[in-house]
Symmetry: C2
Subunit: 388 residues, 2 copies
């Protein structure tokens, strides 16, 4: 099989990396920028750190803070209008979790291409380049800083959609500064971390793998399995925070090339029904999704297990590989106290009723196996019960 790997945003990595943003903008002649972040990031004092760097370098900035969780086209267009009315904006800086980075990417689509944003949904490509784009994650989760995707809640069709663009969504520089994640609360560390794990595990076991993604995804799985429980228990463990953030970034590089599959298909559906954060929904489905594909791609599921520290005897069956790897994922979830679906405000019946959404999900075609309706219902039940 012939496969390809596309270039991604070059990362600048390490404690204090975000402090160079002002200097970097100044050196590139970017005299005025829009800084996109939410109020949580401001409350945590993180946006002030970026602002200080910009001020010190003499770079003017305006801030757009009306970020929605799972941002809609409406809020992104509002951000783009604000940027255009501000005048003289030369670059876009996204700071935060996935929603803030997606908002920044969406704004950048409209800085180079005509409104409305919906023209670029479902394969409609922004043909013109956006502005220089800087993405600075404050969670070790989405890996959005190194992907070419912008996830948008389509208000007209009431569904999530994706704009994939190397013109507007690939960062000029991704700034990976673990200092920005040190104060992330344990619950958010867990929810975002399991999402990163799922990116790596799914894009290692789908039907669009390639050897470079594989290398990055495996390193990501090793780093997350070891460091996520440490970062969860001791948020100020600098090494664990750094490893978790790097792992999320590498998984971003991996899945923007090799795509997610069933974990995300189920997770999207569960999230829509249960109205829970993306990472929590993905966390509820990932163990079962990986277990399900073990018979079709045993060596790759085995690789996940090995990256998590398991050893398998030679001649081990695909079933055993799936079961033991699935159990290791359930244990990882338990180690970070990830809430189970049954503890949330949703019934087993409601979850199972989500079944028609799964085959329609954008990630579903990247699985190595299809599922019958009965299997989908069965697996939704297992996900609710948190069993394999």
């Amino acid at each position: 099989m012939i496969s390809s790997f596309s270039v991604f945003a070059p990362p600048l990595m390490g404690y204090g990396a975000s402090d160079i943003i002002g200097e970097k903008c100044r050196d590139l002649g970017l005299t005025k920028v829009i800084l996109v972040h939410d109020l949580g990031v401001e409350k945590a004092g993180l946006s002030q750190r970026i602002e200080k760097s910009l001020k010190n370098a003499g770079v003017e900035y305006v801030s757009f803070k009306e970020i929605e969780p799972d941002p809609t086209d409406v809020s992104i267009e509002a951000g783009a209008r604000f940027a255009q009315q501000s005048g003289g904006i030369k670059a876009v800086i996204g700071l935060g979790g996935g929603s803030s980075l997606d908002t920044a990417k969406g704004i950048n689509v409209l800085m180079g291409n005509p409104f409305p944003l919906s023209d670029y949904f479902l394969g409609g490509k922004p043909t013109q380049k956006g502005l220089p784009l800087f993405l600075i994650p404050t969670t070790a989760g989405t890996g959005s800083e190194c992907t070419q995707s912008c996830i948008v809640s389509d208000t007209k069709n009431k569904r999530k959609t994706t704009i994939r663009s190397s013109n507007c969504n690939v960062a000029t520089l991704a700034i990976i500064d673990p200092a920005l994640t040190l104060d992330l609360p344990p619950s958010l560390t867990a929810i975002t971390g399991i999402d990163a794990f799922a990116h790596a595990a799914e894009s290692l076991t789908g039907n669009k793998t390639n050897p470079v993604s594989d290398a990055l995804n495996k390193e990501s799985l090793r780093l997350i399995s070891k460091n996520l429980p440490i970062a969860f228990k001791d948020g100020h463990n600098r090494e664990a925070r750094e490893s978790a953030l790097l792992a999320a970034m590498m998984a971003g590089m991996g899945f923007t090339n090799s795509m997610c599959h069933l974990g995300h298909s189920f997770g999207h559906a569960i999230g829509a029904i249960a109205h829970i954060p993306h990472g929590l929904a993905i966390g509820s489905s990932i163990a079962q999704a990986i277990c399900f594909v073990a018979d079709a791609t045993p060596e790759r599921v085995k690789a996940i297990g090995e990256c998590m520290g398991l050893t398998f005897p030679s001649g081990v069956s695909a079933e055993e590989i799936g079961r033991r790897t699935g159990e290791a994922i359930l244990k990882l979830k338990a180690d970070i106290n990830l809430p189970e679906l049954k503890s949330l405000n949703v019934t087993r019946e409601q979850i199972i009723a989500a079944h028609p959404l799964i085959p329609k999900d954008g990630c579903y075609p990247f699985a190595v196996k299809t599922m019958t309706e009965e299997q989908i219902k069965e697996y939704l039940g297992k996900m609710y019960d948190n069993v394999l």
Copy 2:
């Protein structure tokens, strides 16, 4: 420490990947190209395969075959003049081992920038972009297809120099087709494979590491350790050939960011004195170079050993890590029958007399430790004797 990782040439990977070159050129409107390869590649029937693909797509081509081993500025300038006199050349295709790919890169520097090539030695940068560049390796060695470096023998100053350029030396597409390596003789498989191993091992243990290079280098070490002996013994083992070629490419991605250090400093000096191929010279120095840095960077040397299949007890000393990893490298060399220096036409005294060259070598500054003159002499002796 803040580190960065730069984008590299996007690879197209897999058996048969090189057959799309014609189509790719046609789709990009590249109506006429120069194909750069040596006579060995022609004799092996590999250039004909590329020519057929170009013909089938209606892409005109001229061929430049006067490739020197360790190409000089003189031969590269001859190639560039030939390309310019041919008229209407829209792209450069390099096909072969490191010398052919370096020649193609050097020609491309001069397709976008004024003669002479020496203007771009030692940090003189080609400011203008070259033509679209396609690099197709036929050995699993240099990884040159994914680096931004062009190695040139400087005829005026009688030394090797490097042109580093993202404008002219980074391929538009690197085409990684293991089919082109199936008939590589065992001796060349060994010599080029150990060079790839050294790229990964050195750039994992130098002073310019970064986490993305680390992930790629470690995967490269795992793949080479497992597959190089298989490819050496059974050249037509398709999986081993593919893994070896992918490993060489990933090491290229790694070391173009993180640089080689003492293995290459010693290897360059030994090669210049003994007049032996690059890979053979590097093979003579890599085990001792890695062993030498073990006390300064034990965890990273341990990672090399682990990628080679070693396990270390907890609390293992740096000395033990260095010794056991060095022994594993000596064993790998023995497994692929790599000739020892003492079996070649060079004396121990001649090798030790190379010592002044080592601290002047371009790779030397990337080591985590400096060496005294006495240490350099001692290590040259160990390399000659093939002991740690």
